[in-house]
C-alpha cells in the first residue's frame, strides 16, 4: 500500500469520484480499475459509467466526453452517489460537461496541460475557467498530467504521441495515492493487460508510478485520504456488472435445469456484453448465434426451444420492437423463451448508451392480440443473476416466453457481490414429454400437444421422441389436440387459458417484502419501485428515516403477474409514490389493476434517480418543507 510519508492521512467514511475525459482517454478503464482495487480492498462500491454513443467523437468536444462515477465507502451503500465530491477532468470539455455535477466545496483535479486556447475554444469556453474565478467555490488542483506522462514515456522509449496516451494511468496513480489504494493489484493488472505490447506496458506502469510519486512529492495536496473496508458479511466476493451477472445467471439456470443454452442475438448497445460473455463459456454447452438481424435472433431461439434447448434472445430498444411478432408466436406455441431487454432511452434510436425504464408497457402489451408475457425485472447489478434464474424458472415451468428487464444503468454499473454457494442454488426440474397423453374412445393412444398440467403448461415434447410427433404453429389451435381451429368458442377458451396460465404464476411467488419498520400500513407513504430504482429509493428511504420520519418501500421484481398481495399492500397506505425512469408506466398498471391513486415520480434524463430526488418527493408528500440531504450532510451525520 502506498502511504504518504509527509502527508497526514484523513479518514473518510466514503467518497464519490467522477473521472471525465475524452472518449479516447480511457476513462472507463481508469474508473473500472479504481473500482476493482477498491472492492478488493474491501470497500463497498457502486458505479455509474456515463459515455456517449459515438465511439470517438471529435477529440476535445463536449460530444466526446466519457465519464465514470464511482462511490466507495466503509459501509453498505446503495447508489453510485448523487454528486461527486471529486471530479477528475482530463480536458476543458470534461470540466464543462461534468463540473456542474460537483457541489460547491467539492474538489476538481484538472489536467492543466489540456487547457490551451484551442481546447478551451472547442469546449465552448470564452475564458479559461482556471483563471477567471468561475471555480472559486471549489478546491482546484492543477496537475500537468500530459507533460509529466510524456516525460516518463520518453524513458520507456515510446513516441511522444503514444506516450501521451498513458495519461489516464497517471491520473489513476494520482487518485490511487490520494485515496490510499493498494498499488500492487493495479500493477499486476497492467502487466497482464498489456503483456503483448511490452513498450506500452512499460509506459503505462511508469505513468501510473509517476502519478503516485507526484501526489507524494508535490506540495499540492494537504493530505491524502483513507476509506476503510466496509463491514461486509463474511463470504467470498467479486465485483460484477449487471450484464455479467445476468449472463452468469443464465448459465447457472441452464445448468440447474440441465438444459443447453442457445442464445440468438444481434449486436446492440447496451446488451451486447451479454452475448460477449456467453460466447466465452462454450464449456457449459452454451451456443451463441450472432444472427443476421433481431428477428432471426429470436426466431432461432424459438427453434432451439422447440428442439429442447433453453432459447434466449438478448436485445435493447429498437430490437424489442423487431422481435414483437416472434414473441407473439412464442406465446401461441407455448414454448420456453427468454427475452432479455436491456432498456435504453427511446423512442427510436433514442439514447443508446443512457438508461431508461420505458419498455415496461411494451413488454406488457407490445404485441397484437391477447398475448400475455410474464415480466421479471432486475434491481441491482448483482441481482441480475437472481433475476435471470427466476425468469428461466418461469419460462421452463410454464412453457412461456418471459421478459427479463434490465437497463443501461444496471448493465454497465457494478457492485461487490457475495457469491452464492453453488450447492445452494435452487434446482430447476424440467421434464420432456415421453409418453402419449390421450386415449381415443376406440383405445388408440395418441399425443395431444395442448393438454395442460396443474400449472396450465402444455407438454414440452421435443423432436426425436417416437410417437409424440405433432405440429404446432401460430394459427389458433384447438384446446387439447392443438389442431388448427377457427371455432369462436374455442378461440375464447384458448385466449383465457393463456391468460390464466400467466396469471397463475403469482401462486408461485413469495409474499412481498415490505420495508416498513412500523409494519405494513404503518408509514404514511409507500414508495413502490420496480427494477433498477431499488438503490436510489432505498437510499432515499434511509435519508427520510434519518430525519425521524416514516416511509415504507416495496420494490417489485415481478411485474407480470404482480405478487398476489400487492393490492392489499398498496391499499394499506394513504399515499403511494411510484418513481420510474419513464412517464408513469408501472403507476398506470397499478392504477388500472387496483384503483389506487399512485403518484408518479418521473425522470427521463438518461440517468438514474438520485437519492435526494426520492427524499424530496417523499418530504413533499409528507408536507415537510426542507432541502434534501446532501452526501456531505450524511458524512457529517455519520
Amino acid at each position: 500500500m502506498s502511504t504518504a510519508t509527509e502527508h497526514p492521512t484523513t479518514e473518510l467514511d466514503r467518497v464519490v469520484i467522477r473521472f471525465a475525459g475524452d472518449s479516447g482517454d480511457g476513462m472507463q478503464l481508469t474508473g473500472t480499475q479504481f473500482t476493482s482495487v477498491s472492492s478488493l480492498f474491501g470497500n463497498d462500491t457502486a458505479t455509474l459509467p456515463d459515455f456517449p454513443a459515438e465511439i470517438r467523437a471529435p477529440a476535445g468536444t463536449l460530444a466526446g466526453v466519457s465519464a465514470f462515477q464511482v462511490h466507495i465507502s466503509d459501509h453498505d451503500i446503495l447508489t453510485p452517489g448523487d454528486a461527486p465530491s471529486v471530479l477528475v477532468a482530463m480536458n476543458p470539455a470534461a470540466l464543462k460537461s461534468n463540473g456542474h455535477f460537483v457541489p460547491p466545496g467539492g474538489t476538481i483535479i484538472v489536467n492543466v496541460d489540456a487547457f490551451d486556447e484551442r481546447s478551451l475554444d472547442k469546449a465552448g469556453y470564452t475564458s479559461n475557467p482556471l483563471l477567471d474565478g468561475s471555480l472559486a467555490s471549489y478546491t482546484v488542483y492543477e496537475v500537468p498530467m500530459t507533460s509529466l506522462t510524456m516525460e516518463v514515456g520518453k524513458e520507456a522509449g515510446v513516441k511522444p504521441r503514444e506516450a501521451e496516451r498513458s495519461k489516464n494511468f497517471f491520473a489513476l496513480g494520482l487518485l490511487s495515492w490520494l485515496y490510499s489504494r493498494p498499488t500492487e493489484p493495479t500493477l499486476e493488472w497492467i502487466e497482464k493487460r498489456f503483456a503483448k505490447t511490452p513498450q506500452v506496458l512499460d509506459a503505462n506502469t511508469r505513468a501510473f508510478r509517476a502519478g503516485i510519486n507526484f501526489g507524494e512529492t508535490a506540495e499540492l495536496f494537504e493530505s491524502n485520504y483513507q476509506v476503510r473496508p466496509a463491514a461486509h458479511e463474511p463470504g467470498t466476493y467479486t465485483n460484477v456488472t449487471g450484464n455479467t451477472a445476468l449472463a452468469w445467471g443464465l448459465i447457472a439456470a441452464a445448468h440447474q435445469a440441465n438444459l443447453p443454452i442457445f442464445l440468438g442475438s444481434y449486436p446492440i448497445t447496451p446488451a451486447s456484453d451479454i452475448l460477449h460473455e456467453l460466447a466465452k463459456h462454450k464449456e457449459f454447452g452454451v451456443r451463441t448465434f450472432q444472427a443476421e438481424d433481431e428477428i432471426a435472433g429470436v426466431g432461432a431461439a424459438i427453434g432451439a426451444s422447440f428442439g429442447g434447448s433453453l432459447g434466449i434472445t438478448t436485445t435493447s430498444g429498437p430490437g424489442i420492437d423487431l422481435k414483437s411478432e416472434s414473441i407473439g408466436m412464442a406465446v401461441s406455441l407455448e414454448l420456453p423463451l427468454l427475452i432479455v431487454d436491456i432498456q435504453r432511452g427511446g423512442p427510436s434510436t433514442g439514447l443508446p448508451t443512457k438508461t431508461e425504464q420505458s419498455d415496461l408497457l411494451h413488454a406488457m402489451y407490445g404485441r397484437h392480440g391477447e398475448a400475455p408475457v410474464p415480466i421479471v425485472a432486475a434491481m441491482t447489478p448483482s441481482h441480475c443473476f437472481e433475476a435471470a434464474m427466476e425468469a428461466v424458472r418461469i419460462a421452463v415451468t410454464y412453457r412461456t416466453p418471459v421478459f427479463l428487464l434490465s437497463d443501461g444503468y444496471l448493465a454497465n454499473g457494478s457492485e461487490p457481490w457475495r457469491l452464492p454457494d453453488v450447492a445452494d442454488l435452487p434446482a430447476l426440474d424440467v421434464e420432456f414429454a415421453t409418453e402419449t397423453n390421450h386415449v381415443a374412445p376406440d383405445g388408440t393412444a395418441s399425443f395431444w400437444p395442448y393438454i395442460r398440467d396443474e400449472n396450465l403448461a402444455r407438454p414440452w415434447a421435443v423432436p426425436g421422441t417416437p410417437g409424440l410427433e405433432h405440429r404446432i404453429g401460430g394459427l389458433e389451435k384447438e384446446d387439447g389436440t392443438g389442431n388448427i381451429s377457427y371455432d369462436p368458442e374455442n378461440h375464447e377458451r384458448m385466449v383465457r387459458l393463456r391468460a390464466a396460465k400467466v396469471a397463475g404464476i403469482a401462486r408461485s411467488l413469495p409474499p412481498l417484502e415490505v420495508d416498513d419498520p412500523a409494519g405494513v400500513g404503518g408509514a404514511p407513504v409507500l414508495i413502490l419501485g420496480w427494477g433498477s430504482t431499488y438503490g436510489a429509493i432505498a437510499a432515499g428511504v434511509r435519508r427520510v428515516r434519518a430525519r425521524g420520519l416514516s416511509v415504507a418501500h416495496v420494490q417489485l421484481m415481478h411485474l407480470n403477474p404482480f405478487p398476489s398481495d400487492l393490492g392489499d399492500v398498496l391499499k394499506a397506505y394513504d399515499h403511494v409514490l411510484v418513481p420510474e425512469a419513464n412517464l408513469g408506466q408501472l403507476s398506470k398498471m397499478v392504477r388500472a389493476d387496483f384503483l389506487v391513486d399512485a403518484q408518479i415520480l418521473s425522470k427521463v434524463q438518461g440517468s438514474p434517480f438520485r437519492a435526494a430526488e426520492i427524499e424530496l418527493a417523499v418530504l413533499e408528500l409528507l408536507g415537510v418543507d426542507s432541502p434534501a440531504t446532501t452526501e456531505a450532510d450524511e458524512e457529517v451525520a455519520s
Partner: protein, 341 residues
C-alpha cells in the same frame, strides 16, 4: 434405394390425419405426394424429421406430414430452422417456403441460412404470385404483371431464385417442377443427402391466381425442347433427340446451339462441383423466364463445412480445453476477495 438397416415406413405413415386444404388443382398437391412417397425411400424415421414453414399457401405443408412440424411466421422459417438444426444435428430439418415468404419478407433469413451452410433442406414453391392473400404480384412475378395490386402492370424486375441462392454462397442449388414427380423426387433425394443448406426451387402452378405460369416449359409435350436437364459430368443437351446443346463461347457467354452444327465435343459438360459458381450462375441466366429453354436439375453441389457441426466442434474443443463447465469457478473468474467470518 432403401437401406435395410433403417426404418421401414410406408407413405401412409408419413400422412397426418389433417385434411389437406389447398385449392383443388393446386401444384402443391403433387409436391406433397412426391415428398410423402419419397420419405420411405430415404430410410429416415418420422420422429427425427421436422418440417418448418413460414406463412403462405406452401407453409401449410407441415400440417399434412405426420412428423414434427412448426408453422412459424412470415419469412422467418429459415431462422427458426437454424436454431433447431444447430442444436439438434440428429434431426432432418426441412423448410417449406414460397416466393413471397422466402424472397420478399424473409429474404434476409434465406440468404444468411445459405451463406452459413446450415444443415437444412429448403423447398421453395415458386408460383410467381401471392396466393394466400389472393393474387398480388410477388418478387418472382414477371415485369408488367397485372394483378389486383398492380392494375397497370408491375414495375419490378423479378428475382431469379437460382441466381440469388448462388450469389448467397449456397452449396447446393437445384430446380425442379411440379409436373414431374420423378424429377422432383430425385432432386429432393439429392438435396436431403447434401450436408449443409440445400436449396431447391420448385416451379409450382397456382391454378387460381397464376394459372399456366410455367406451362410453356412444363407441359408434357413442351418439356423436351424447353427443359434442359443438368446432369453432372454429362454434356448439357436437350430435345427429343438431344439435338440441342449449350456451348461456352470464347467471349465467355453461354449459347444454345444445334449439336449437329458445332459437334458433340463442343458441348459444355456440366460440372456441379466446380469451386467457382460462375458457370452455374450463367446457367441460371440462360432463360430470361419460364417461357424459353430453362435448365432444371442440380446447378451446384459442393462441399463446405456445415455450420451446426462447426459450432458443436467449438463446444467440444472448449470442453476438452477447460473441462466441463464449473459454476463455482465461473462465478470466481472475475477475481474474488474473502471477508472472514
Amino acid at each position: 434405394m432403401t437401406d435395410t438397416a433403417t426404418p421401414t415406413t410406408t407413405p401412409k405413415d408419413w400422412t397426418s390425419d389433417q385434411e389437406v386444404r389447398w385449392c383443388p388443382g393446386c401444384g402443391d398437391y403433387s409436391i406433397l405426394t412426391a415428398v410423402r412417397l419419397l420419405m420411405p425411400e430415404l430410410g429416415v424415421s418420422r420422429e427425427n424429421t421436422v418440417f418448418l414453414s413460414g406463412i403462405g399457401c406452401a407453409a401449410r405443408f407441415p400440417y399434412y406430414m405426420n412428423t414434427y412440424g412448426l408453422h412459424s411466421i412470415h419469412g422467418r422459417a429459415p431462422a427458426v430452422a437454424t436454431g433447431l438444426a444447430v442444436t439438434r444435428p440428429d434431426l432432418d430439418v426441412w423448410v417449406v417456403t414460397g416466393d413471397g415468404d422466402a424472397l420478399s419478407i424473409g429474404g434476409n433469413h434465406l440468404i444468411h441460412a445459405l451463406r452459413r451452410n446450415v444443415d437444412i433442406t429448403i423447398l421453395l414453391f415458386n408460383n410467381q404470385i401471392y396466393g394466400l392473400t389472393k393474387g398480388q404480384y410477388s418478387p418472382t412475378s414477371e415485369q408488367g404483371k397485372v394483378t389486383k395490386s398492380t392494375p397497370f402492370g408491375s414495375l419490378e424486375t423479378p428475382f431469379n431464385p437460382i441466381s440469388l441462392a448462388l450469389g448467397a454462397e449456397a452449396t447446393f442449388v437445384a430446380r425442379t417442377h411440379d409436373m414431374d414427380r420423378k424429377h422432383m423426387q430425385e432432386t429432393f433425394r439429392r438435396a436431403h443427402a447434401h450436408t449443409g443448406a440445400a436449396f431447391v426451387e420448385i416451379y409450382q402452378n397456382c391454378n387460381v391466381f397464376n394459372d399456366g405460369a410455367f406451362e410453356k416449359i412444363t407441359a408434357k409435350d413442351a418439356r423436351p425442347d424447353q427443359l434442359i436437364p443438368l446432369v453432372h459430368g454429362e454434356p448439357i443437351r436437350f430435345g427429343a433427340e438431344a439435338q440441342h446443346g449449350v456451348v461456352l463461347d470464347p467471349d465467355g457467354r453461354l449459347r444454345l446451339v444445334e449439336v449437329a452444327d458445332v459437334g458433340e465435343g463442343a458441348i459444355l459438360v456440366h460440372d456441379e462441383k466446380r469451386d467457382d459458381p460462375g458457370l452455374a450462375f450463367q446457367l441460371s441466366r440462360l432463360a430470361a423466364g419460364p417461357y424459353e429453354p430453362t435448365p432444371i436439375g442440380v446447378f451446384r453441389a459442393v462441399d463446405r463445412p456445415e455450420y451446426g457441426a462447426a459450432m458443436s466442434h467449438q463446444l467440444l474443443e472448449a470442453q476438452e480445453r477447460k473441462g466441463p463447465g464449473d459454476l463455482a469457478s465461473l462465478l470466481g473468474s472475475g477475481g474474488t476477495w474473502t471477508v472472514p467470518g
